[in-house]
């Protein structure tokens, strides 16, 4: 309409674009291309997660010491309530129950905070999404990575607690690494699913704390599922034990705690742990990518 006269007069916009090899701005790349772009941004993803982590406590006087102090205080509160007041340590001695509880709290918090950060990954960073170009999956991945680093600080506390209650380092501690890797995959997938849903419906940020708390109490963070549900139909315990949060907690306890043997684990536990991780990570990634070009709409 208001174009200048040119030899291309009469061509429609689409034909003109095709003639000079112009591409639609903001179109969603193919899945392979998307993965490649994401890999190209790996340094940004890592730097962003570390920056978020550092910024968290930069105003506090004790600074980064809070990375360790926060989980320690958390564990202390749960011990006070469930260990001393409620006596939820049925079927376990104190030397098993306390590391059992602390492991449960930390491992579950890892998933919980990844989900919560995931919900706000896009909706809480609209400024960034509207100003710069990058594969949007960088954000949920970066937030899960931040939570992983946070968990590594918590692991220091966890090791101290384990040793203090008589579980000394042994070969099975090596299993911590695959457990963490699988749980990280699972969390990242979940964060991506939540990120897409949260981008469309920011209200999820208000709703999720209740969902997560229900999930926490159902996953046996502070009690042993088979012992608590004795006498109830067996399928309830089965369902609860096979939920991913319970699986990763149990595996971590099995790896870490001396008196928590394989009799506490459901059958095929590693296959289930791996299955959840791969299913949710791949499914979440594809689900997130499908809406790539729509993130950032007001």
């Amino acid at each position: 309409m208001s174009d200048r006269p040119s030899p291309d007069e009469g061509l429609s916009a689409a034909e003109l674009a095709a003639k000079y090899g112009l591409a639609v701005s903001g179109a969603r790349p193919g899945l392979g291309e998307y993965v490649r772009q994401l890999w190209g941004r790996r340094h940004f993803i890592l730097a962003f997660s570390q920056a978020k982590l550092t910024a968290q406590y930069s105003q506090a006087k004790l600074g980064q010491l809070w990375q360790v102090a926060t989980p320690l205080l958390n564990a202390l509160v749960y011990f006070l309530v469930f260990g001393l007041i409620l006596g939820a340590d049925k079927g376990m001695g104190q030397e098993v129950y306390i590391p059992f509880l602390v492991t449960g709290v930390f491992v579950f918090t890892f998933t919980q905070s990844s989900v919560m950060a995931g919900v706000r990954a896009i909706s809480g960073n609209l400024g960034l999404v509207r100003a710069l170009h990058f594969p949007r999956a960088s954000l949920p991945i970066s937030f899960s990575l931040q939570q992983l680093q946070q968990l590594l600080f918590s692991m220091i506390v966890l090791f101290i607690v384990a040793v203090a209650f008589g579980s000394y380092p042994r070969l099975s501690w090596v299993l911590i690494l695959p457990v963490l890797a699988l749980q990280f995959l699972f969390n990242t997938g979940l964060a991506m699913i939540m990120a897409r849903m949260g981008a469309k419906t920011p209200d999820l940020a208000q709703l999720m704390p209740f969902v997560m708390r229900t999930w926490m109490y159902a996953s046996g963070v502070m009690f042993s599922i088979p012992i608590m549900l004795k006498g109830k139909p067996e399928w309830i315990a089965d369902v609860l034990q096979w939920n991913p949060a319970a699986i990763y907690m149990d595996l971590m306890r099995f790896a870490l705690i001396d008196g928590y043997g394989s009799e506490n684990l459901p059958p095929h536990v590693w296959a289930v742990a791996g299955g959840w991780a791969v299913l949710v990570a791949l499914g979440g990634f594809v689900y997130f990518w499908k809406a790539e070009e729509r993130y950032g709409r007001g």
């Binding site: 701005s25 400024g127 070009e293 950032g296």
Partner: protein
Amino acid sequence: MAEALIPTVIADELHIVYRVNGAKTGKGSATAALSRIIKRGEERGVRKVHAVRGVSFTSYRGEAIGLIGSNGSGKSTLLRAIAGLLPAEKGKVYTDGQPSLLGVNAALMNDLTGERNVILGGLAMGMSREQIRERYQEIVDFSGINEKGDFITLPMRTYSSGMAARLRFSIAAAKDHDVLMIDEALATGDRKFQKRSEARIRELRKEAGTVFLVSHNNKSIRDTCDRVLWLERGELRMDGPTEDVLKEYEKFTGK
């Protein structure tokens, strides 16, 4: 000369609509919100803002295009749509390469040191670690942050607003672009820094295929642009050589 016209950005009947949650006209009370949820249907409780309405234009390599219009006329929205950052409601934008917005503010964190923000901002714009290492000193020198002492190792929240703005501009301007879009970036810093940034913009223009500049300062539009798009209420009101459009615009604004 006609053969030399190579298009870099084509906008074709572009419409952009913002959706704002919870800004529906009328009652904002909890009961009103509840009844909206119950009545469901066509996206209730969501107010639509039609920010850009059917804009079409083609820009060519080597052009510097100014965008003018009163506040809220859709200039920034249009830039974001060209950059592919805001999805189009209707119509399409075709671009050559990846247009980039000169704006890195959103990636920076006030609680981090200037040093870390330079690295983070560079990575966010898609620079590699090596590129950032190469340009790091350049960025810091250009910002002039260290002229009054070692400020780059302090958190950005300790900077004065002028210092922070200078660092942001320096980071944003450190990258080379195909199609570059500048949104009111020239108004930051003191007189000395403004001169320096104008020079940097001219440099960027030479490297970039096409430059878009949003500004309310008609003088800086005259200095840098050869073509101007005038937006009013989301519609393209005029498109032509700088002088012609500015004359009409100045008549319109009553200068």
